[in-house]
Amino acid sequence: MTLMKPAARVRSRARHRDLGGGGRTAALFLAPFFALFLLTMIGPVIYSLGLSLFATKKSGLGFGSSPEVVFVGIENFVAVLSSESFLAGFARVAIYALLYLPTMIGGALVLSLLLDTAAALFKRAFQLLLFLPHAVPGVIAALIWVYLYTPGVSPLVRALESGGISVNFFSAELVLPAMVNIAVWEWTGFNVIVIFTALQALPREVIEAARVDGAGPFRTALSIKLPLIAPAIGVALLFTSIGALQLFTEPAILATASRAVTPTYVPNMWAYDAAFNRLDLNQAAAASIIIAVVAGVVSYFITRINTKGGRA
């Protein structure tokens, strides 16, 4: 460095400020993140990978002898993937996502487009009201809804019954839609904020140009606003899909009230059941890794669709 010619040094310093100096500052700020990330994310992942390759085997009656920890390779993964209940869990998540994604994203989109129209009154108040359910913690929300679903207790069920409609939200057919309903209630407001923020950021001249060209509010929303906020919708879709794969709170709480929700209802509950009911940490680790891989693949495809859509 010190042997460089002055001109080169100036140039190099300029480059340095951009890359090296900035890099050092950035590293300083990022270090705590990466330290924690290694400790709380990467560490456990490596540990579970290790766990998933071993099994604790008892022998005979099990009395008086210590269980052995043996290396079993991919045996745990095979056992998890050939478990009917684990695969059924993925099927349920798929149905859940099919019901949930269009309802929630569609609802959020319509609501934010309505909020964005010039004619909308009390924008702030509506935003706040829509967001309020999201301020309720997920577990509490599920508990509230369990109360509202419980026959003999719920005012909702009673009102429906007095209207001649008898529904059992805890039945095998309705319990999944009941979960979708909780999630829609909880998350629509949040996504309205995301999409509405994107709408607010749209250049006003584009919308004015559309109006000058004679487009009504309906046409503007469909042909101008919608394509422009596609990236925001994509982000909402990405987070929501990953959230759907991680479905746990709603079924876990509903399981306490409904027989139709088994302890292995969704893949996450399967892993939980393996770890905490059957006390098989090795299979639980294998199941968790499979879930993580599926989540990774799903998000990869959604981001790809997004970027393609963005370029088109």
Binding site: K58, L61, P151, F276
Partner: protein, 433 residues
């Protein structure tokens, strides 16, 4: 460690002292006979209520051992915590484990046997059923705390309205169900698929043996003939509407009780508190009675629930831990200190009297519930054993019994539970017949 010579001298002294002070009773000599001194700190984990007070009472009663109490979650979360803590060598010295979970901890080699620390005399204080459940493979692994007999609680006014007596056989129970439904519109009992040890108790009463440790392999009988007979009965009652499939301890279950849609509860001695706390404001005082389980003809008295105290293998102070466990399970002070925490029916039968005194709501019921507890507990255990991983069976039951109700198929369901249990146990390396 004590040196051998010092121990020898100690023992000789003890023998001499014991000989000369025999008239004073055995209490004075007892502590010094133990292999290691029972002193130091004992960490105690429990999910049971008021156990902090019991630990305090023990600390106040002597100076050698200091018990530190920590409250842990009940149910699967608590067992997961205990199991991982033992694996990570930061487990307590005394843990609370329910009967059905004990064999899982024993076969995972997570507990220390108590044979060296507990005298025959202490063991003789416990009733037969509870003792048989803590002794596995020839060792004593825990001391039993309570031994709640399975029994039925009825709304006497609804039985009267239907013109039926308290059923003494299951046949009468089925008929009473029809009468109660016809006359009052209420159902006679709920089917609690959420509690796997609930149906296990009912099968146990009919002579079923869900698990039996043979010479070198386990025998699983969840789908055996007595079990099938029980399944058939409950399916008939579910079909007739005299029994409703509803998970216990849910809002729906509670609402049915409060509004009089439930004319009975198949539970245990501890259900007194569960019922009282739910219906005390519903004007049902003096309407509930306790009764023995209807009979299948044999004299088997199943337990429903119940806890034991065990010493994890990692404990560095098992002697002191065992001393504290002895206090927990056999000392009247321990029961007194816990206060009113429900109608506990204890494994050391002599102590139930103390629990009865502490329980303040016996008068809520229309009959002498404590006399009924005694009758219900009077019977054989029929060599019932819990399996080496009841969690597998529990999970299987939750998975299979999703559509339990009218037009269900309980017999087929339990055949499936049997199959899944055997698969699960074999996968864990155990040998199953």
């Amino acid at each position: 460690m004590r040196s051998p010579t010092r121990s020898a001298i100690g023992l000789a002294t003890v023998a001499a002292v014991a000989a000369t002070t025999a008239a004073c009773g055995s209490n004075a000599a007892a502590p010094s006979v133990e292999p290691t001194a029972a002193t130091g700190e004992v960490v105690f984990w429990s999910a049971l209520s008021n156990m902090d007070r019991v630990a305090q009472a023990f600390n106040d009663s002597q100076d050698d051992i200091e018990v530190v109490f920590e409250s842990i979650p009940s149910g699967p979360d608590g067992y997961a915590k205990l199991s991982t803590a033992i694996g990570a060598d930061n487990a307590p010295d005394v843990a609370t484990i329910e009967y059905f979970a004990l064999p899982e901890f024993v076969t995972s080699d997570r507990l220390a046997p108590l044979d060296d620390y507990v005298s025959e005399e202490t063991l003789s204080e416990f009733n037969e059923v509870s003792k048989s459940l803590v002794q596995l493979g020839g060792n004593t692994w825990a001391l039993p705390y309570d031994a709640p007999p399975m029994m039925v609680w009825y709304r006497q006014d609804l039985l009267n309205a239907a013109g039926v007596e308290v059923p003494t056989t299951w046949e009468e129970f089925e008929a009473a169900g029809d009468a109660v439904l016809d006359e009052t519109g209420s159902y006679l009992a709920s089917f609690n698929a959420n509690e796997s040890s609930w149906f296990a108790g009912l099968a146990w009463q009919n002579g079923s043996q869900w698990f039996a440790a043979g010479e070198d392999s386990w025998k699983v009988g969840i789908g055996d003939a007595p079990s099938e007979e029980v399944s058939a009965l409950w399916q008939r009652m579910l079909d007739a509407g005299t029994v409703k499939a509803v998970p216990s301890f849910t809002d729906e279950w509670t609402a049915d009780m409060v509004e009089g849609r439930a004319a009975g509860v198949v539970g245990a001695s501890w259900s007194a508190n569960a019922i009282y706390s739910r219906v005390k404001d519903a004007g049902q005082e003096g309407k509930w009675i306790a009764a023995e389980l209807p009979s299948w003809g044999e004299d088997i008295a199943p337990l429903y629930g119940g806890s034991t105290y065990a010493v994890p293998k990692t404990s560095e102070n098992p002697a002191a831990a065992a001393k504290f466990i002895e206090f927990l399970t056999t000392d009247p002070l321990a029961i007194e200190a816990r206060g009113d925490s429900g109608s506990a029916y204890l494994a050391a039968s002599a102590l139930t009297e103390v629990a009865q005194e502490a329980y303040t709501t016996s008068d809520f019921f229309a009959n002498d519930i404590w006399a009924v507890f005694d009758d219900a507990a009077d019977g054989t255990s029929n060599d019932w054993q819990w399996g080496p991983n009841f969690g597998i069976t529990s999970s299987a039951m939750q998975e299979v019994l999703t559509d339990v109700g009218p037009d269900g198929a309980l017999i087929e369901d339990f055949a499936a539970v049997q199959e899944r249990t055997v698969d699960g146990l074999e996968q864990s390396g155990l040998s199953v017949e």
